[in-house]
């Protein structure tokens, strides 16, 4: 019974794989991720280097550091890719055929997540890697004081972190897409969760809200990446806790999507 269910899931994932690569939007989103990561990393890195030079310091930084910041912007290319994997089926009506082929709704959702998450992870590592190369090529020259370094272990960790962010936000987008069905609604909801919510909470100024803001997905990821709080100069909170929050948000989005999928007519 169990082996059979896994076989069914494998077939459903195979179909999703074929579907993912047979539409142009996937390629556009991936190209967008690469360009967006490289360009924003270059901007962030350039600003960082200029600032360091102006301060007269010789504090070096790894080429992957601006890439981590850049990923905060570039992640939306993957949000779009993942979202389209499900919302385009609702807009075209193809979801009915998908559910005719894979009538167990949780299995359909799992198949989409299983295909999109690794693709997003790879996209994060690869576009992050490309951005590191671009940042190093441009900023390691004398003009910027040769402040940018290439420490292998740190760069590897940062790239894996970017991959993890892309993978998890893409799964969040799939869950939200299943719950909301429309592309505009899904994109707005995910954007608000990632960017709007922590900002709004922080704006209230209340200590509780501030603490809560730090537990929303993006700050949680920054905690996972070991980002430091500018005021206290120490990590926001332990990396493990960041990962736990990130996973909890992802699980919540998938659970919401699954609940709507099961409850509503297709």
């Amino acid at each position: 019974m169990r082996g059979m269910a896994i076989g069914e899931l494998g077939r459903a994932a195979g179909a999703e794989w074929t579907k993912l690569w047979s539409v142009r939007s996937t390629w556009w989103c991936l190209a967008g991720a690469v360009v967006l990561t490289a360009l924003s990393a270059l901007t962030v890195g350039g600003a960082r280097a200029t600032e360091a030079l102006r301060a007269g310091g010789a504090a070096t930084f790894p080429a992957s550091e601006p890439v981590v910041t850049a990923a905060v912007f570039a992640q939306f290319a993957l949000v779009a890719l993942a979202m389209l994997a499900i919302t385009s089926e609702y807009s075209s009506g193809g979801i009915r055929l998908t559910l005719q082929a894979v009538p167990v709704r949780g299995r359909m959702l799992a198949a989409k997540a299983l295909v999109v998450a690794p693709v997003a992870f790879a996209a994060g590592v690869l576009s992050g890697g490309a951005a590191v190369a671009v940042v190093y090529a441009v900023l390691s020259g004398d003009l910027f004081g040769g402040l940018v370094t290439l420490p292998p272990a740190e760069i590897a960790a940062d790239l894996l972190g970017v991959g993890a962010l892309f993978a998890l936000v893409s799964v969040v987008a799939i869950g939200a897409g299943a719950a909301l069905r429309s592309a505009a609604g899904t994109l707005t909801a995910v954007f608000m969760l990632l960017m709007g919510l922590p900002l709004m909470l922080a704006m209230t100024g209340a200590p509780v809200a501030l603490e809560a803001a730090l537990r929303t997905p993006l700050p949680a990821w920054l905690a996972l990446m070991g980002s430091t709080d500018e005021k206290i100069g120490a990590p926001l909170y332990p990396a493990g806790e960041g990962l736990a929050w990130l996973l909890a948000w992802t699980a919540a989005a998938v659970a919401a999507g699954h609940a709507v999928l099961r409850g509503r007519d297709a």
Binding site: M4, E8, R11, A12, G14, A15, E16, W17, T18, K19, S22, V23, R24, S25, S88, E89, S92, G93, G94, R96, L97, T98, L99, Q100, A101, V102, P103, V104, D265, A266
Partner: protein
Amino acid sequence: MDDLSLDVKPGAVTGFLGPNGAGKSTTMRMILGLDRPTAGTALIKGVPYHEIRRPLRTVGALLDARAVHPGRSCRAHLLALARSNGIAKSRVEEVLETVGLAEAAHRRAGALSLGMSQRLGIAGALLGDPEVVMFDEPVNGLDPDGVRWVRHLMRSLADQGRTVFVSSHLMSEMQLTADHLVVIGRGRLIMDAPLAEVIARSSLTAVVVRSPHAGDFSARLASAGIRAERSGENELVATGAAIERVGDLAYEAGIRLHGLSTRQASLEQAYAELTADSTEYGARREGARNGDR
């Protein structure tokens, strides 16, 4: 849908008729587990749809031909369907050939005409070589050649022993294709009978009698409990009796006949009588012809 019970048999084409909004598409979606009935079940070979292991191999359905990602090629669309149910890749080329889309396999679904979309939808339904085939308005948008092709296809699928369940609002087409009819109106079952019976039961199916003694014969028929109406000086129309019985009565009464023939109601006429009370939008929007969705 309200308390609809029906049983669709293999080896025949069952036409599913009803006015717009009667619930034809909803019924099909319920059978496929896409919409959930508030009460009751839809079973295929005794099992709910979602419990079928590789459902496309048991049930092939075309609900909405346009419901395909417009940017995906015909081949990729079918390939994804095939993979989901463990259907051999070679089947994709086969069904593309069957529906006449082999040349257009690389074309994006959004660039197809409605008729070609219908063919792609039918290809998807046939992909798993299913025992049960359901088509919702399959001839919408097809040219006369395409219509004939769908008719022959449904016939041959039924002749192979498959269950063919097809909805349509084209009565003339159904009259040519269906063996059995299920008629619903406002979500209720109006008729579930063989095509021949539906037509025979219509008041417009009648025996036309030409006789110089039409008046006398009309009275004679009435006394035998057969409704007869004068339709001309020497002609009357008898309903509710077989032609043999009308002829025998004339012979017994010694009435000279100049003509005795049957008049068959068309399915369109029979259907109009059946659904006269249940056309949801008919009365208010007379003449409006909307495709059923």
